[in-house]
């Protein structure tokens, strides 16, 4: 099957591949682009290699979470820096099944979170060095992404393929590879970030809204139940169980708590943050007229211990009690309520 050759036109329209055989019936309901005088760009100009018919993809999906499973193939074709602010991803989806698949919403984000039909705005890039998720760039004053759109193409027919591209905010200069995340495929790891031979000025020159780069975090539990933590790219947040640190309704630290606090102090010593926040919380039982001061007293008690244990100099402690506010877990189960009864120690890594 011959894939549509890349036209570097002004309109940003994704195209479907179809067979260009003499006299053959056009099978695809997708915009063909072959007689489209306004041209179509299924690959951005100047890309590092997406437009070459023979170039192999950087990565191919093992399978998809769609009704077609591995009969739908998703390829990552290229990932290029076009300038210091903009990275362009190009991809291809190919339908190798007998039946069609709904294309209009295949790669879209949920509508209530800014998703747009007929676009790939549900695709994101993960910077695993800094643990950030890059959402697509959005053109100023618009809602859709700075990306392909396949307006009007509802289904991807059997045997057809579609190429599309998405522009993203760049990661820092020292990032050399990223993960590509879509709505329907396992994350593609280790996609090399190259530099475009030449920037596509129609893309890089588009005025854009504020870039959306979201921090990632990971919740982790110690199996003995005494602590959990939340790790992000920049910060560590250790959540010590109040049930271990204190007797019921008390705010004096127990002797069992010593090990846990020594371990936290050691982490603080090895970190770089100059400010350590200590926040006390309770579950939602009882009432906050008691819970707030109790959690504040507990935060202060932990601060007293840590001040003695931490050896790195120049550290400032900030404490607060929040009562039942800002639960980290559900209050609907005992397991969740136990997680919510905590003192959290947070600092920059």
């Amino acid at each position: 099957m011959i894939r549509q050759r890349a036209d570097r036109g002004l309109r940003r329209k994704a195209t479907c591949g179809f067979a260009l055989l003499a006299g053959a019936v056009l099978l695809s309901s997708c915009v063909s682009g072959k007689d489209d005088t306004s041209g179509s760009a299924d690959a951005p100009a100047g890309g590092s290699g997406a437009e070459t018919e023979d170039s192999s993809p950087l990565a191919s999906s093992v399978t998809t979470s769609t009704k077609l499973a591995d009969n739908l193939n998703v390829d990552v074709l290229s990932l290029d820096r076009h300038n210091e602010d903009v990275v362009v991803l190009s991809m291809r989806a190919t339908n190798n099944a007998e039946s069609e698949i709904r294309l209009s919403d295949l790669f879209m984000y949920p509508p209530r979170a800014g998703g747009q039909r007929y676009t790939p705005n549900g695709v994101s890039l993960i910077d695993t060095k800094n643990m950030k998720r890059h959402r697509p760039l959005v053109e100023k004053g618009q809602e859709g992404c700075l990306c392909s759109d396949w307006q009007g193409d509802i289904d991807l027919q059997s045997g057809d393929s579609i190429d599309f591209w998405v522009a993203f905010p760049s990661p820092p200069e020292d990032v050399t590879d990223m993960v590509v995340s879509t709505t329907i495929t396992p994350d593609f790891p280790n996609i090399p970030l190259k530099t475009a031979d030449s920037a596509d000025e129609e893309i890089t020159g588009s005025p854009i809204e504020e870039p959306r780069i979201l921090a990632l975090s990971s919740l982790q539990d110690d199996l003995d139940g005494s602590s959990s933590r939340e790790e992000s790219g920049d910060e560590t947040s250790i959540m010590l169980s109040s049930d271990v640190l204190f007797e019921l309704n008390e705010s004096e630290v127990t002797s069992e708590a010593a090990n846990a606090l020594e371990s936290v102090a050691s982490e603080i010593d090895n970190a770089s943050g100059k400010t350590v926040r200590i926040d006390g919380y309770t579950d939602n039982s009882g009432n906050d007229s008691i819970n707030v001061p109790l959690s504040e007293d507990r935060a202060l008690a932990v601060e007293t211990e840590l001040e003695d244990l931490v050896t790195r100099s120049g550290i400032t402690f900030e404490t607060a009690g929040h009562g039942s506010n800002d639960p980290v877990a559900t209050n609907d189960t005992e397991e969740g309520r136990q997680k919510n009864r905590r003192v959290t120690i947070s600092f920059e890594k």
Partner: protein, 174 residues
């Protein structure tokens, strides 16, 4: 990084279709064999019947902590299964997803929950928004999903825990 090449429909088949003949389009019937299986776990909970979980891939992104597990739910419950039922019951995640699938480091005794972004969306199969997303698995069929975790690079073996199933131990991270 394994690149699995995919055959697109040969042009001879398209020519056949365009001239009105009905030829079966070769589907990649062998494709199921191409999805690796690293391990299998049986259902523990009664309402999951003879359903099983398979881990297909466990991949780390370069030298980072970012690990993605690809896994398959084979539905033998006797009825349709909704992947929404695999949401995390301890920590809140935005919208429906398979956020309840956790990774256990048996040696360090740490349980990892899937990564979330600052809008609390899971970095895992979720929202189930596309019309043809395999959210509901017919009885006798399977659905393949993924979950991503921040697992320190020193950890190269984990156990995958899917609610209602036995733990799937000894998964090596590539």
């Amino acid at each position: 990084m394994t690149l699995i090449s995919r055959k697109v429909v040969p042009s001879s088949a398209i020519l056949a279709m365009s001239s009105g003949l009905i030829f079966g389009i070769p589907s990649s019937s062998a494709a199921d064999d191409e999805v690796p299986v690293l391990g299998t776990a049986n259902a523990e909970s009664d309402d999951l019947g003879q359903s099983t979980i398979e881990v297909n891939e466990a991949t780390r992104s370069t030298e980072s902590d970012f690990v993605t597990i690809t896994w398959t739910f084979r539905n033998n419950t006797g009825k349709e299964y909704d992947a929404k039922d695999l949401g995390n019951t301890l920590y809140p995640y935005n919208d429906y997803s398979v956020s309840g699938v956790t990774a256990l480091d048996e040696k360090a005794k740490i349980r990892y929950h899937p990564i979330q972004d600052s809008e609390e969306f899971c970095l895992c199969a979720g929202q189930f928004y596309p019309h043809d997303f395999r959210e509901k698995i017919p009885n006798g069929a399977s659905g393949t999903y993924w979950t991503s975790y921040m697992i320190p690079s020193e950890t190269n073996e984990i156990t995958i825990e899917v609610p209602g199933f036995e733990s799937l131990e000894g998964v090596t991270i590539e």
